[in-house]
C-alpha cells in the first residue's frame, strides 16, 4: 500500500514528543513530570516545547527525587490524573524502585481492582552513547520479575509513537523503556494508523534458518546481523518483541517452530536477563522442535563498563553472528 499523507519521517525521540503532545492535547488528565522536562525539554529533548504549549501545571519540573516523582504520580493517578513520568537515565530509577515495586505495581491487586494507576514511567535506557557511569544500563529484568507492571520498549519511531499512545491509555502502570541510542534514528510514522496490540511481537524480517529475538535498541542490530548472514546464504528471521512483560511467547514459539533455532539478544546482562526467561519457556514449549539450545547474547555479569569499553561489552554484529554460528553448528 502506498504511504498515506499522514505519514512523516521523524526521529524516535521526536515521535515520542509528538505522541506526548497528542496525549496532552486529547486528555486534560494527562500530565508530564520529571527532572528538567519543562523549559529544557528534558536532557534528550523528548519533552521539548511541551511546557511552553501546555503550561507548568501540565508539564511539571519536579524536585530531584525519583521516589517523590513516582510517589506523587501515584497520588495524582489516585486523583484521576494520568501521569507520564520521566526518569532522566536508566541508572537513576533505583531511588524510585520501592514506590514502583511495592506501590505502583501492587495497588490494583491490593484494592481488588478498585484502584487503577495509569502511570507511565519513561526510562531512556541502554548504552552505546559514550556516557559516564549509570547512564547506559538496561534494567528491564528488574521490573519484569515484578507482577503488576507492564514493560515495553519500542525499536523505531512509529512504534515509539503508537506504543506511547497505548501506554498512556492503558489502565495499568507501564514502564516505557526508550532506546536512547536510537533516539536520533528516523523512520516513517503514520499518525492516523490503527496500531496493533501493545504487547504483540512483530516479525520485522522473515527467515527460515534461525530466529533472532530482540527489543528496543537491539532490533536494529539484529536486522544488520540478518543482512550480514544473508550474504553468507543464511536466512535469519528477526522478531521485534516490543514487550518484555508480557512477552509474546506465542509469536516466538511460532517462529521457532519454523526455524528450530533461537538466539535472544539484549544489552542487559545475560545472567537473570530476559533471554533466560525466553530460553526457559521456549525450550519448554518447543522441546522437540529445537535443533540447538536457545543461545543468549547480552551484557556480561559486570557493572556497565566505562565508555571506552562499551563496544566490547555490548552485543555487536560479530558477537551475534558468533552465536548464530554456534547455534547453526548444532
Amino acid at each position: 500500500m502506498a504511504q498515506t499523507v499522514t505519514s512523516k519521517k521523524m526521529a524516535l525521540a521526536k515521535a515520542i514528543n509528538e505522541s506526548l503532545r497528542r496525549a496532552l492535547d486529547a486528555d486534560p488528565k494527562v500530565v508530564v513530570m520529571g527532572e528538567d522536562v519543562g523549559k529544557l525539554g528534558g536532557v534528550f529533548r523528548v519533552t521539548d516545547g511541551l511546557q511552553k504549549d501546555f503550561g507548568e501545571s501540565r508539564v511539571i519540573d519536579t524536585p530531584l527525587a525519583e521516589s517523590g516523582i513516582v510517589g506523587t504520580a501515584i497520588g495524582l493517578a489516585l486523583r484521576g490524573y494520568r501521569p507520564v513520568v520521566e526518569i532522566q537515565f536508566d541508572g537513576f530509577v533505583f531511588p524510585a524502585y520501592d514506590q514502583i515495586v511495592t506501590q505502583l505495581a501492587k495497588m490494583h491487586a491490593r484494592s481488588l481492582g478498585k484502584v487503577k494507576l495509569p502511570v507511565v514511567v519513561r526510562i531512556p535506557y541502554g548504552g552505546g552513547i559514550g556516557a559516564v557511569e549509570h547512564h547506559s544500563e538496561s534494567p528491564e529484568s528488574l521490573f519484569a520479575h515484578v507482577a503488576g507492571l507492564k514493560i515495553v520498549s519500542p525499536s523505531n519511531a512509529s512504534d515509539a509513537y503508537w506504543m506511547m499512545q497505548q501506554a498512556i491509555q492503558s489502565d495499568d502502570p507501564v514502564i516505557f523503556f526508550e532506546p536512547k541510542r536510537r533516539y536520533w534514528d528516523k523512520s516513517d510514522v503514520d499518525t492516523e494508523a490503527i496500531p496493533g496490540p501493545l504487547h504483540a511481537a512483530r516479525v520485522v524480517r522473515a527467515g527460515t534458518d534461525l530466529t533472532l529475538a530482540a527489543y528496543g535498541p537491539m532490533v536494529k542490530l539484529c536486522q544488520e546481523v540478518a543482512d550480514a548472514a544473508a550474504e553468507e546464504g543464511r536466512s535469519l528471521e528477526v522478531l521485534d518483541l516490543r514487550s518484555v512483560s508480557p512477552i509474546d511467547f506465542d509469536a516466538i514459539q511460532a517462529s521457532v517452530e519454523r526455524t528450530r533455532r533461537l538466539v535472544v539478544v539484549h544489552e542487559a546482562p545475560v545472567f537473570f536477563g530476559s533471554g533466560a526467561e525466553i530460553a526457559a519457556r521456549i525450550t519448554e514449549r518447543c522441546f522437540y522442535h529445537l535443533e540447538a539450545p536457545v543461545l543468549r547474547v547480552g551484557g556480561y555479569h559486570a557493572p556497565y563498563p566505562p565508555a571506552r569499553l562499551e563496544e566490547t561489552y555490548l552485543p555487536d554484529l560479530d558477537r551475534v553472528l558468533d552465536a548464530v554460528d554456534r547455534s547453526l553448528a548444532y
Binding site: 500530565v31 501545571s57 519536579t62 524536585p63 527525587a65 521516589s67 517523590g68 513516582v70 510517589g71 506523587t72 504520580a73 501515584i74 497520588g75 495524582l76 493517578a77 489516585l78 486523583r79 484521576g80 490524573y81 520501592d98 514506590q99 511495592t102 506501590q103 501492587k106 495497588m107 490494583h108 491487586a109 491490593r110 484494592s111 481488588l112 481492582g113 478498585k114 484502584v115 487503577k116 507482577a147 503488576g148 507492564k150 492503558s170 489502565d171 495499568d172 504487547h199 512483560s245 508480557p246 512477552i247 509474546d248 511467547f249 506465542d250
Partner: protein, 401 residues
C-alpha cells in the same frame, strides 16, 4: 454492617463546625503566628482539655472548636469508645485465631477521632495500618479493616467510597501519595484537603522528607499528621530524632505544631486549623500528635522486652477517653443514660464484628490471578489456565478412583 460513626449519623460534617465553614475566615497572619509560635526549644504542646478533663483556654486554637456543642462532644466520646471497643474485639479475635495479626490503636483514639472528625467528606485520607479510628470517622465498615489482618485480602475496600485510602504497610510511602493527590486537588481548583498519617518511626524514611519537599514546592493542600506514640516497635523516638518531630517541618518551609494527641478537642482544633490552611492555599502543615501506644506494636510483639510498665502507667493517667468523660460529666454534657446506652451499643458492635469476621469466607483460589492487571496480561492468563488444569487434575483423579 449497620454500625455508623457519629459523623455518619449526623449528616457527615466536621465536628464542631455547624456550618461546615466556621473558621475559614481566619486570617492567614494569625495562622502564621500560630506556627511561628512553636519555634522555642521547649516543645509547646497544644492542649485544650487537661488529663483531669478541665477545659483550658488557647487563644490560637479555641476558635477552631468555638462552635462545638455538647452533642458534638458526646459524638467524639462515642466515636472514641466505639473505636476502642472495636479495637479490643479485634485483639481478642486475633487471640482466638480468627485474625493472623492485629495492630491496636489503644491509647491513640483522641488523635485519630479528633483529626478524623476535623475532615470534610471531600477531603482524602491516607492512613498507615493503625488508623482504625480515622476509618471509623470516614464511615469505613470496620469489618473491612479486618480482611487484611485475617489474611483474606490486602485491604480491599474501595478507597474512593469514603475517601479513605487503603492501609499502607511500607512505612512512609503513603505520604507521597497524599502529596500527589493534593497536587491534583490544586490542579482541579478544588478546595478540599488531604491528610496523611504516619508514625514517629516513619518520620525517618526518605519518602516522608520527599513528601515534605514536594508539598512545600507545590504548596499542596496536605496535612501531615504524625502520631508520635513514643515507639516504633522497640525503638523510642530518640532513635529517630534528637529534636521534637514537629520541628522537622520548619526546615522545609511550612509550620509544625505539637498537639496533645490524647486530647480529642485539641486534636480536632489543630487539625481543623491545618486543614483550613490547606484550603486557603497556604500549603502543607505538620501536626505531631503526642500520644502513646498503650499496647504492643502488634499482637506479634512483646513490649516487656523493651519498655517498663511504669511508662504505660504514667500514660494511663492521660487516657483520652477518661479525660473526655471527666469533662462531659463535670460539664453535665452527658447523663448516665448516655453512657449506659453507649455501653450497650458498644457491646453490640463487638458482637457484630465478631460475627462478621467469623463469617468472612476464605477467598477463592483463583483470586490469586485476579486484579493483577486492569487490562489483563498474557502470562497471568496462561498461569491461570495452567492452574485450572492442575486443579482439575485432582478432580479427575478423585473422579477416576
Amino acid at each position: 454492617m449497620t454500625v455508623e460513626s457519629t459523623a455518619a449519623r449526623t449528616s457527615r460534617r466536621s465536628a464542631g463546625n455547624k456550618a461546615g465553614t466556621t473558621g475559614t475566615k481566619r486570617t492567614t497572619s494569625t495562622a502564621k503566628k500560630a506556627a511561628g509560635a512553636r519555634k522555642s526549644t521547649e516543645p509547646a504542646l497544644v492542649q485544650l482539655l487537661t488529663p483531669e478533663g478541665k477545659r483550658v483556654k488557647n487563644a490560637e486554637f479555641d476558635p477552631y472548636v468555638a462552635g462545638i456543642t455538647a452533642e458534638d462532644l458526646r459524638g467524639l466520646y462515642r466515636d472514641m469508645v466505639l473505636t476502642r471497643r472495636f479495637d479490643a474485639e479485634a485483639t481478642s479475635l486475633q487471640r482466638q485465631g480468627e485474625l493472623g495479626l492485629w495492630a491496636s490503636l489503644l491509647g491513640q483514639e483522641a488523635a485519630q477521632i479528633g483529626s478524623g472528625r476535623a475532615l470534610r467528606d471531600d477531603d482524602y485520607v491516607f492512613p498507615t495500618y493503625r488508623e482504625h479510628g480515622v476509618a471509623w470517622c470516614r464511615g469505613v465498615d470496620p469489618t473491612n479493616l479486618l480482611g487484611m489482618f485475617r489474611g483474606v485480602n490486602n485491604g480491599g475496600w474501595d478507597p474512593g467510597g469514603n475517601n479513605f485510602h487503603l492501609y499502607t504497610i511500607v512505612i512512609g510511602s503513603q505520604t507521597l501519595h497524599a502529596t500527589g493527590y493534593a497536587m491534583g486537588i490544586t490542579k482541579d481548583g478544588a478546595d478540599s484537603a488531604v491528610i496523611a498519617y504516619f508514625g514517629d518511626g516513619a518520620s525517618s524514611q526518605g519518602d516522608v522528607a520527599e513528601a515534605f519537599t514536594f508539598s512545600a514546592v507545590y504548596n499542596a493542600p496536605v496535612v501531615f499528621f504524625c502520631q508520635n506514640n513514643q515507639w516504633a516497635i522497640s525503638e523510642p523516638t530518640e532513635k529517630q530524632s534528637r529534636v521534637p518531630l514537629y520541628q522537622r517541618a520548619q526546615g522545609f518551609g511550612f509550620p509544625g505544631v505539637r498537639v496533645d494527641g490524647n486530647d480529642v478537642l485539641a486534636s480536632l482544633a489543630v487539625t481543623k486549623w491545618a486543614l483550613e490552611r490547606a484550603r486557603a492555599g497556604e500549603g502543607p502543615t505538620l501536626v505531631e500528635a503526642f500520644t502513646y501506644r498503650m499496647g504492643a506494636h502488634t499482637t506479634s510483639d512483646d513490649p516487656t522486652r523493651y519498655r517498663h510498665d511504669d511508662e504505660r502507667a504514667a500514660w494511663e493517667a492521660k487516657d483520652p477517653i477518661l479525660r473526655l468523660r471527666r469533662h462531659l460529666e463535670s460539664a453535665h454534657h452527658a447523663d448516665e443514660g448516655f453512657f449506659a446506652e453507649l455501653e450497650t451499643e458498644s457491646e453490640a458492635l463487638g458482637k457484630r464484628v465478631r460475627e462478621a469476621v467469623r463469617a468472612m469466607p476464605d477467598p477463592d483460589h483463583f483470586a490469586i490471578f485476579e486484579n493483577v492487571y486492569a487490562d489483563g496480561h498474557a502470562l497471568v492468563d496462561e498461569e491461570r489456565a495452567q492452574f485450572a488444569a492442575y486443579q482439575a487434575s485432582f478432580a479427575d483423579e478423585d473422579g477416576g478412583e
